[in-house]
Symmetry: C2
Subunit: 206 residues, 2 copies
DNA sequence: TTCGTCATGTAATGGGTTACATGATTAC
DNA sequence: GTAATCATGTAACCCATTACATGACGAA
């Protein structure tokens, strides 16, 4: 059971395939173009993942069948498309606003598909990531304060650069959150129960 | 065989223990304070790693024995120290200037112990990382140029932020490299053979 | 005496990579 | 016709995590 459920790949594949049907090779290129700054997937993980998703019925092979390529018997590319079940599963993944959405490995992928994510979920993910980073800042800052003197210049420089990067990402998140907030003028005060919300559609997904 | 050879942990442990003997719990705290912005280790990987390193003879238990704690039979903390072999191994790890030193997962740890790394090796690692990042920039930039139009605003923003972060790190590396170069006024032109280099000591390590 | 944190460990699992193997198609 | 790149796949391994289990010690 190498690779479909639980990993980031599942979302990455499902999300990509939702936009348009693709074959494995092309899918990988797109993914690495999309997330290239953060991570890169290899074929060794992608193909087994596709196989698993196929077995689970979340994706299906797409037959070119009739038009534009009448050659028979030739099928080297295997183009996959999302099934109805697959769309459901994708929706499920995109609705989860928990650590699995805002940790380092997964945040980028989730963000990349924000277009298909509900506005409220987007906000909670952004805030989740921000507080995750702030936690990190706090713990490193306090640890640093206690030991700053006995650190060599390289270690110090690493700390400085690390802090700066994370602080920068927090600022970036702040801006995003502010923008998102303007988008949803509902929930004036904080509500613990979240029943129906009349005009809050942003999901698209079909 | 969970965990000692090959991983980043080996270097992290050996490097930390070189500065001062430590027990596992404290070691982990230090490591996570040192590298907290980049990654975090768990006990589940640290302890098995220590066990392995102990078995390999790279570290040894340190007996408090005589002074300052005369209570007998009590030994809840297990303090480890580097052996001669361990120091050798550490030196070996710190001399490797290859992908294993400048990839995302490992660069931080290598940088953190630059104090114990030869000046030339430092330079090659910094340059290696820089060109690694530049490769990434290139491939993402070209891919982006071909598909910019059909990208939604979230994807675009992710790309922008990713590019900016990496560009920023490249600039940081540029500065570091410049500083390093001032430190070693040898090799006026590029030499393919690198035989002895008389006065290039910075290693310390005993 | 109970709670937090210090302290050490193990088993199961996980999610992905590397390296390998194969073959079709395109460009020169 | 041969080299590059497109395209698909598998087996072995890797490095670390999660979750669990245990217990000592200090402070409230």
């Amino acid at each position: 059971m190498t690779g479909a459920r639980g990993g980031v790949l599942e979302l990455a594949v499902l999300g990509s395939l939702h936009e348009t049907p693709l074959h494995g090779y092309e899918l990988r290129k797109r993914l690495n173009a999309l997330l290239g700054m953060f991570r890169a997937f290899s074929y060794g993980s992608l193909y087994p993942c596709l196989r698993q998703l196929l077995a689970d019925g979340l994706i299906a092979e797409e037959q070119p069948a009739d038009v534009a390529a009448p050659l028979s018997g030739r099928r080297s590319k295997i183009v996959y498309k999302l099934t109805a079940e697959g769309k459901e599963r994708l929706q499920e993944l995109l609705t989860q606003a928990g650590p699995s959405a805002w940790e380092d490995e997964s945040f980028g992928i989730h963000f990349a598909f924000f277009r298909h994510t509900e506005a409220e979920v987007r906000l909670r993910i952004l805030e989740g990531r921000r507080s995750r980073l702030e936690e990190r800042l706090d713990s490193v800052r306090t640890a640093l304060a206690r030991t700053r003197e006995r650190l060599d210049s390289y270690t110090l420089e690493l700390q400085r650069h690390g802090l700066e990067s994370v602080e920068r990402e927090v600022r970036w998140l702040n801006e995003l959150i502010a923008t998102e907030r303007q988008g949803l003028p509902s929930t004036p005060t904080d509500r613990t129960d979240r029943a129906e919300k009349p005009g809050s559609d942003t999901t698209d997904l079909d």
